[in-house]
Symmetry: C2
Subunit: 183 residues, 2 copies
DNA sequence: CAAGAGAGTGATTGATCAATAACCTATTCC
DNA sequence: GGAATAGGTTATTGATCAATCACTCTCTTG
């Protein structure tokens, strides 16, 4: 058995397929863009992190902008997935949502920083991705709050988003004291 | 009288002194940096707005980074000045502070956008300026709340900052619906 | 085994920009 | 009148980078 390989055992996820390379590039892109921002990050830095040549990135992504958009979408997808997975009684839903987000910030800080980086970008496709992402998150949380029968869902969602943003900014600026204080 | 001038009457503020030029450049820099971000904005764009040559900027500012820092400091100074000027009874202080900030966002949107642009920048002097600015604003508002005898000043300030940030982001992303909803 | 597809690279290019160098022009004032 | 001084300009340079081009290498398969 397993006679296709001689020395190394190669699992599906480290086979050098275009699809796997795309994933690796995206993962590296999140880190590099989060660290340096869209305009200062270079495709060469992303390539180096993956261990491929810089031009190869352009075989899998049309251009730098598309790479950034794909990375940003990946970040929003994780947030959406995380919030969708929350199950909690009405009186604990808000606390549980906050806890989930705090955990996400610990496990995937670069995806959060990527969004902070994207806040200032005026490039239309990137701006559109940000708007779609923010709207999707807001709507999802709101529907969860509504379904749970929480009073004033609009206000609660807004407050949640505001505190989340302050949290993001506190992290981006390295100012832990700026983090939201709860009563 | 006024025999120093023949045709045009030149007031002190449009005399071509280095100090006046510095001010004009700073004003243009706020706009250009707010619109395009630190890395994408060019010194040539700033120069064009002022109506001077690009190299002349470097006679008045050591480099691009120093220009950005000066523009950012100017933005924070206005916020501080605005908040310092507020006088209101305890039961109206929060509402009045919010109103002041909303007005500032209307009169000087570019100074707010500049700060959003600065959120992602990792350059040490710029980051330091952001940290100092955010801390100064937070401390000032807190001392106002404390002096007015507001309960839970820490929490109130934090909530105010969070909503302010959400407001900034709503503007930056062109998403008016994202603006904070108050109960 | 030839032909093609898939994965990947090295070399280069064309733009873009911050920053410098060298120079210009008017005014002041000894 | 000549020498600072202040306020500017033109031309240039040296880096940096996204993106393209022209290849190579290695399977697979009819």
């Amino acid at each position: 058995m397993n006679n296709k390989q001689t020395a190394t055992v190669r699992s599906k996820s480290d086979e050098a397929t275009a699809a796997n390379r795309r994933e690796q590039i995206l993962e590296a892109a999140v880190i590099v863009f989060a660290e340096h921002g869209y305009y200062r990050a270079t495709t060469a830095q992303v390539a180096e992190k993956v261990g491929i040549s810089q031009p190869y990135i352009f075989k899998l992504f049309r251009n730098k902008e598309e790479l950034f958009v794909a990375a940003l979408e990946r970040a929003f997808e994780r947030i959406i997935r995380t919030f969708k997975a929350i199950v909690a009684p009405a009186d604990q839903l808000l606390a549980e949502t906050i806890r989930s987000y705090e955990q996400l910030m610990e496990t995937h800080p670069n995806e959060i920083l990527l969004q902070v980086q994207a806040l200032g970008i005026r490039d239309q496709p990137i701006l559109q991705t940000m708007q779609n992402g923010m709207l999707a998150v807001t709507d999802l949380v709101k529907s969860k709050f509504v379904d749970a029968g929480i009073r004033n869902p609009e206000v609660e969602v807004s407050t949640f988003m505001a505190n989340g943003m302050l949290c993001n900014i506190a992290m981006a600026l390295g100012m832990p004291d700026l983090k939201p204080k709860h009563a």
